[in-house]
Symmetry: C2
Subunit: 218 residues, 2 copies
């Protein structure tokens, strides 16, 4: 697809829309979240395989060139997948996916951050710095940094396995955004050429339960 500055219409049409990025982890996270809420938002595909998110049209929508992004009815744009999810959580609190009450909300945030800052970032580093297909996107590609992150991925999964031996989901609050974040990260391990060790039976059981949820196809 040819990228042109007016590819996305060049201005709001007064209707909410989600600029999506297909199979990449963060776009999936938002679509799964919406499916869990039973919500449907008009989707505008952004072709990240062809670097459309780096082009001038999308840069006008999100100057940080990341997908997904949510355009509101008033034309303002919310970037960052968890910020988009929180927007919908506030408007549609049921079922709660960010926890309830001060302690529950803090606990979900804690788990979501552990997933994002340690597990997700490590898988991402392995993918970006070791996968041959990322050589053009990730400049400089530093294989030593990719390698260093492999141990961190396993270490985090081992710690999650202990938790998931005690309860069905990461947070005591039950199924939450932390599980969505962690589940899409485990899925992301496949293109990153990483495997969940067989010994981590609780992680495997939890991941199978996520994959069995209808939302996981979103």
């Amino acid at each position: 697809m040819i990228i042109t500055p007016d590819r996305f219409g060049g201005g709001t049409d007064g209707h909410m829309k989600l600029y999506d990025g297909g199979r990449a982890p963060n776009p999936r996270r938002v679509r799964i979240f919406l499916a869990e809420k039973g919500l449907s938002v008009p989707i505008v595909p952004v072709d990240i395989g062809n670097l459309e998110h780096k082009g001038p049209a999308y840069t006008q929508i999100n100057p940080y060139q990341l997908v997904p992004a949510l355009e509101l009815d008033d034309g303002s744009v919310i970037g960052e997948s968890v910020a988009i999810c929180r927007y919908f959580e506030e408007l549609h609190p049921e079922p709660p996916l960010f926890g309830t009450g001060a302690k529950g909300k803090a606990e979900v945030e804690m788990w979501n951050r552990r997933v994002e800052f340690s597990l997700y970032q490590s898988v991402q580093a392995v993918f970006r710095h070791l996968h041959p297909a990322m050589a053009e996107m990730q400049v400089p590609q530093i294989p030593a940094w990719g390698d260093a992150n492999k141990a961190r991925v396993i270490e985090m999964l081992e710690s999650f396995d202990v938790v998931l031996g005690q309860r069905p989901f990461l947070s005591e609050s039950g199924f939450s955004i932390a599980d969505i974040s962690a589940g899409i990260t485990v899925d992301f391990m496949k293109p990153a050429r990483l495997l969940v060790p067989e010994a981590l039976t609780n992680v495997h059981r939890w991941h199978a339960a996520l994959r069995a949820r209808p939302s996981w196809q979103a």
Copy 2:
């Protein structure tokens, strides 16, 4: 200080306490947040210079060995600085530091994440992978990865300079946790041996305004 398993008492005494880490960025973030809220929480110092956060006593409190951590009256522990801040935001909503309303909350979260995932993580990578004092803590230390992050720090600050030319703080909601996160990150640039370019006058003005707030001494 000698680290012993009972250094922290080995169990709850029924009172909230904040396990603190001194001048490190994340402990500071929580103390500044509490000061902005006008709240005071009993503090238990954790000596990260002597790696006390990696010792058996603190590992029992936070298995991820990170500071700060908040122990609640019931003995449960909230880790992750932003999760701790959100706990207090829920209990003490005024002044709001995570935004108000669905759009305001999403917007603050968006800016806080842009700060954390791009600016903070890049400064941290420069510090951990290039500073000689970090050679023992950061294994392996990969100077090429530290160097690669220097450009990202400047790129993010340049983007913030544009925003801060249009309004006093990062979020349209006014002063928020995103400014606290960004401010402690700019402070963290000093030990990381990075400078805010002189040309970024809006960043300099904003940072001076943060430093002038009484909370910044917390």
